[in-house]
Amino acid sequence: MTSQTQTLLQVSALCLKKDRPILENIHFSLNRGEMLVVLGPSGSGKSTLLRCLNRLESATTGTVCLEGRCTEDISARELRRHIGLVFQEPELLPGTVFENLGTGPKLIGETLEENEGLALLESVGLDPAFKNKRSETLSVGEKQRLALAQVLANQPRVLLLDEPTSALDPLSTETVESAILKVQKDNNIGMILVTHDMDQARRMNSATLVLVDGKIAAYGTLDTILQSGATHLIKRFFSKQDKNS
């Protein structure tokens, strides 16, 4: 990445307060073709952060800029197409795989061409023969990849992935992970991948933001974070993760 690359996504001083503070002073930036891994224990606010970026939730204060444009000036519908979100537990629509792929384009009166649909299936490693399969009959891993392709059909500039493999066995995890890495390489888009799995974060080999209790506990490559000596917050993260497992 050269220094003149325009920042794709710039998040500054993002806070979200409900009955208590859920996100506090979150800031980071993301360039085109880069991935940011958000690592944190359950309840640390990872999903909420993604929901704020996709504007399913409005941050209490702070700004998010997409390609230098403040997202508050972009309508929710347009923004959600630019910053696509794949949910933690994706919910497909009743219908065929192909119908699911075409959902995003259809919402704005466009139709997904057959070859575009097949290319999308291929890009997430799904068999093109799945095209006419009913979405309910897919396995969890296949659903996860279909949901990813469904969002990609909107041609987002930023892709948000919320624990895409948390419900999968090691083998499907590997398939989904390679689909993700392939999508990133092919589309040159920015990605934010949320995970609570340290090993997955390591495999993604990207800048990592450690989120604990809604605050940034550390930021950098995973190795430097670990070498820097566990700070107080990260220590709590590890102890929490032990308790969870």
Binding site: L56, A76, F87, E91, N154
Partner: protein
């Protein structure tokens, strides 16, 4: 019928309360309150009707119907409480469904603008519309909660609230109309509706009773359907804020 027989009939309500108490359904207080309220209301209405049925000024009749609508809208609006403007929506939908139906029937000459027709039939239409509005709001809230993930998935893909709620609205409207449609299907077979029963018990000819009953079924169906549609179409917007986010709390 003797007044004593009526008292004996109340034993049935007490049985219902006993069942509730025995099975800890915790609705015995509700049953007691509602049945006492129904008794007092009906007795009062009996006296009021004696007086109202002598009214022959159109204006007063309309006024009475408007008051009925207001009460119905208030009760039904309470059902949809988590929805913003639920009372206004219920009131408008009930008024829309009832008065449109009433107007058609009046124009067609099925009912005359005499108190003897307007008040009891108006009450029936408004009452049925109220049921439709309450059910519609209740189903809309429940369906929205149930389909929350599907709705948010669609929103996240760039759907407008209308697009995201299409299935939900349709499902809610369908569910809210089930009682009306099932009543239509089974009328005369499973139950003899109130008016017909009353007419026959009071000594009228069954065929005349059927004619009135048909007109009434048509109008109740029309009123329910219109009220129900108006309610869901007006109310679903309340589930979203300006940023097109689903705002209803997880626990309504």
């Amino acid at each position: 019928m003797q007044n004593e027989s009526l008292l004996l009939a109340y034993i049935l309500v007490m049985i219902a309360m006993a069942i509730s108490w025995k099975n800890r359904l915790e609705i015995e207080k509700d049953i007691l309150g509602a049945s006492v309220r129904a008794t007092l209301q009906l007795i009062a209405v009996g006296f009021v009707l004696e007086w109202i049925l002598t009214i022959d000024r159109m204006l007063y009749l309309v006024l009475i119907l408007v008051v009925m609508t207001a009460v119905a809208g208030w009760v039904s609006g309470n059902r949809g409480r988590p929805l913003p403007y639920s009372h206004a929506i219920a009131w408008f939908s009930i008024a829309f469904g009832s008065f449109a139906t009433f107007g058609v029937l009046w124009y067609a000459g099925v009912i005359q603008s005499e108190a003897r027709f307007a008040i009891p039939l108006g009450g029936m239409i408004i009452g049925n519309s109220m049921k439709a509005a309450s059910l519609a709001m209740n189903r809309l809230l429940a369906e929205t909660e149930h389909r929350r993930r599907q709705i948010e998935t669609l929103l996240a893909l760039g759907a407008s609230p209308k697009q995201a709620m299409e299935q939900t609205v349709r499902q809610a409207a369908k569910a809210a109309l089930i009682p009306t449609i099932d009543t239509l299907k089974t009328v005369g077979l499973v139950h003899l509706p109130g008016i017909m029963t009353g007419y026959i018990v009071a000594g009228g000819s069954p065929l005349t009773a059927v004619k009135y009953q048909l007109a009434i079924m048509y109008m109740l169906t029309g009123a329910s359907a219109m009220t129900c549609l108006a309610t869901v179409l007006l109310a679903y917007r309340g589930c979203f804020n300006k940023s097109e986010q689903l705002i209803l709390d997880r626990s309504f």
